[in-house]
């Protein structure tokens, strides 16, 4: 055989070899939606930073549950990351801004709670593998069927203590005005308590009400101002002095966001409601070093699922299928 022909054959074999090896490095059969986090040199400065153009958005479909059954929603989702942190950007249509969350309103004689809840979006990652979360998503921890071991005392938790989830919970009224998403985690449901726990540290919200629950206890402290959407932060409140006069129509926040500290305040948030929709950015260190947080290793993939709440409580939500987060 001619020497040149032999060389050509060897060359072709080497090319095929490389192609086959690359092909063997892919996971075959996976059909989940993948969110690719793009590596960026600098952190996004905000919701409109041009650096977001480096990430590809995916439209994540959501199915309505309970009172939203039969309805659908969609969230445009992007992610980028730096050497230190990961950033998510969510955009979804919502014709109504909902931040009431039972706010107090004075009618000239007495205080009463306004009707209305708040808009929210939540993400659930695995800290330790949750059995079948990768295939069933929230169905395995959020909406378990009646009679399942983790259906007791609420509907949110894992089956064993070894399974742990990291729940990122952005709340338009209770966390966003404080610039955070509530950082909580998920563990086993017991007979006595649910599986949802707050991360170590301080945060969450404080109920603004008197002991007899008939009226608000706090008002804006002198020299302080209301936060976004006229929400009163716990840190900016002061007990209502005796003799304070309110006029009809005055309103006061019922669930006052607290300043988040420690592991509970790991997830920073920025948001805007405009043009009939929300734009929300969440970001967190890749690895906080806290046991109640998922530690992101950019070489691996992560399963996560999302839920959307439109002026609704926990039981009424739009849920996504489980997705895969990949760091590119």
């Amino acid at each position: 055989m001619h020497r040149q022909s032999i060389k050509r054959i060897y060359g072709m074999v080497l090319l095929m070899l490389f192609a086959v090896l690359l092909m063997s490095g892919t996971v075959l059969g996976a059909s989940k939606q993948v969110l690719e986090a793009a590596k960026v040199k600098a952190a996004p400065a905000g919701l409109d930073d041009a650096i977001w153009n480096e990430a590809t958005a995916i439209q994540v479909p959501f199915e309505g549950k309970e009172s939203f059954a039969g309805q659908k929603a969609s969230v445009a989702t992007k992610a980028v990351y730096t050497d230190e942190a990961v950033y998510f950007l969510f955009k979804w249509k919502d014709p109504t801004l909902s931040v009431v969350k039972g706010a107090w309103q004075f009618d000239g004689e007495k205080w009463s709670h306004q009707k209305g809840n708040e808009d929210r979006i939540s993400l659930l990652f695995e800290i330790n593998r949750i059995n079948n979360f990768a295939t069933k998503g929230c169905a395995i921890v959020c909406h378990v069927p009646q009679g399942a071991p983790n259906a007791k005392d609420g509907k949110f938790g894992t089956t064993t203590a070894a399974e742990k989830g990291d729940l990122w919970h952005w709340k338009a009224a209770r966390s966003d005005p404080a610039g955070v998403a509530d950082d909580t985690w998920l563990t086993q449901i017991s007979d006595k308590e649910g599986g949802r726990k707050s991360d170590a540290g301080k945060g969450g919200d404080q109920k603004n009400m008197t002991e007899d629950k008939s009226a608000p206890k706090y008002m804006l402290a002198p020299g302080k101002s209301l936060a976004k959407n006229d929400i009163l932060l716990a840190a900016h409140s002061v007990e209502i002095p005796a003799g304070t006069v309110f006029k009809a129509g005055d309103m006061l926040t019922y669930r006052m966001p607290k300043t988040a500290e420690g592991s509970r305040g790991d997830i920073k948030a920025e948001s805007r409601y405009a043009g009939g929709g929300w734009t929300v950015m969440l970001h967190r260190s890749l690895d906080t070093g806290n046991e109640d947080d998922v530690a992101f290793n950019t070489r691996r993939k992560y399963n996560f699922a999302m839920a959307l709440f439109d002026d609704s409580g926990d039981e009424n939500s739009y849920d996504s299928e489980v997705l895969t987060l990949e760091f590119k």
């Binding site: 090896l21 690359l22 063997s24 075959l28 059969g29 069933k136 070489r299």
Partner: protein, 368 residues
């Protein structure tokens, strides 16, 4: 009871010990023995490096597999966690797992190439029939490593690929069901199946491979190399097995390790989602090496299924094994073996076409 006799040293043993002391290394005798071995000069020819790379890959797979076993737990669920830990938490775990993953694929590709080259050179013919048959047996053994190894991470791909393979095996008349029960230890793929696959993968199959390699090398050493592809005779001047051939193998080993380590650094080995036996929506896609067999199964259905699962693969195996005795051509050169070359080319073409059909069916047509 008679008391034990005290340990004493005889004059002869003391003299032998003093004689050993004069040697620089206890390995001197084996080294001298190795140095006396000579092989044909072509053993170090650069166009005959495939066999050396294959040996390097086998050693690499044994070593990487042994280190991976340190972390592995053959229990459903825990198996996935242990592989995940190896990949992302254990020091150099990702490299080890990647080397193990890519080395298998490389081994299979090169083994097929080695077989094809041997075929074209006519090196299966007398007196090298048993060299060829032992080589075919080695090639036939490699998929068993992959089949048993695929299940070990207990991920979706491995689990559901195993289900497909078990259903194909079970469809073989008479022996299929029994083979599946023996492999799985029951009707379902659970902890017993995982344990059996693990033991097969790390113990029985490696022992069998080592035995076949020894047989293969024995026949290679006994009958020498075949003619070169360019028609010239293999170099007949003998060279020392040690250090020349051993050094060549070491060079190939280092180069192979380096290249695969680089590959795995940039393209980490895959690990899918944990296996969920209740997730019937998962459709595993066949790997590159099994595409043509998978397509045979897809073509022949119902009462003809046995053609795709057993008859055609069996005939192909018989053809390969019996080739040295079927080929009655007058000489070894390809031009003197036109009938065999044409038949083999047709078979290869059919396999490639079936593989392409399988690829397009499972992965879609290339984008315009």
């Amino acid at each position: 009871m008679k008391p034990p006799e005290p340990i004493t040293t005889t004059k002869d043993s003391r003299q032998r010990f003093r004689s050993d002391e004069t040697k620089t290394l206890a390995l001197n005798d084996p080294v001298a023995w190795l140095k006396r071995i000579t092989v044909a000069g072509d053993a170090c020819a650069w166009n005959r490096f495939v066999g050396g790379v294959l040996l390097a890959l086998v050693v690499l797979l044994f070593l990487s597999g042994a280190f991976l076993a340190f972390y592995y737990s053959p229990v459903p669920g825990a198996a996935y966690d242990s592989v995940d830990f190896t990949l992302f938490s254990a020091p150099f775990g990702s490299i080890l797992k990647g080397v193990h993953h890519y080395a298998w694929n490389l081994l299979l590709v090169l083994a097929i190439f080695h077989l094809a080259r041997t075929f074209v050179a006519g090196a299966y013919r007398k007196p090298r029939q048993l060299t060829w048959i032992s080589g075919v047996a080695i090639l036939g053994l490699l998929p068993l490593f992959i089949i048993t190894g695929d299940l070990l991470p207990w991920d979706q791909r491995g689990y559901w690929s195993t289900q497909v393979r078990m259903s194909i095996i079970a469809s073989i008349p008479f022996a299929g069901d029994m083979a599946v029960r023996i492999l799985q230890g029951g009707a379902l793929t659970g902890i017993v199946a995982l344990t059996r696959f693990y033991v097969l993968h790390i113990l029985f199959l490696p022992c069998l491979l080592a035995l076949l390699l020894a047989v293969h090398f024995y026949f290679v050493a006994r009958h020498g190399f075949a003619e070169r592809l360019n028609g010239k005779q293999a170099a007949d001047h003998p060279i020392a097995f040690f250090p020349r051939v051993v050094n060549r193998w070491l060079v190939l080993f280092i180069v192979t390790v380096s290249l695969i380590a680089l590959l795995t650094y940039y393209w980490p080995p895959p690990l899918g989602d944990p296996a969920d036996p209740t997730d019937s929506t998962y459709v595993p896609k066949p790997e590159w090496w099994v595409l043509f067999l998978n397509q045979l199964v897809a073509i022949f259905k119902g009462k003809w299924a046995i053609l795709g699962t057993a008859v055609i693969p069996g005939l192909l195996t018989l053809f390969l094994v019996g080739l040295p005795y079927l080929d009655r051509s007058p000489g070894n050169r390809p031009a003197q073996r036109k009938t065999v070359i044409v038949v083999a080319a047709l078979l290869a073409a059919v396999m490639i076409v079936l593989s392409l059909m399988g690829y397009f069916e499972h992965f879609g047509l290339p984008r315009q």
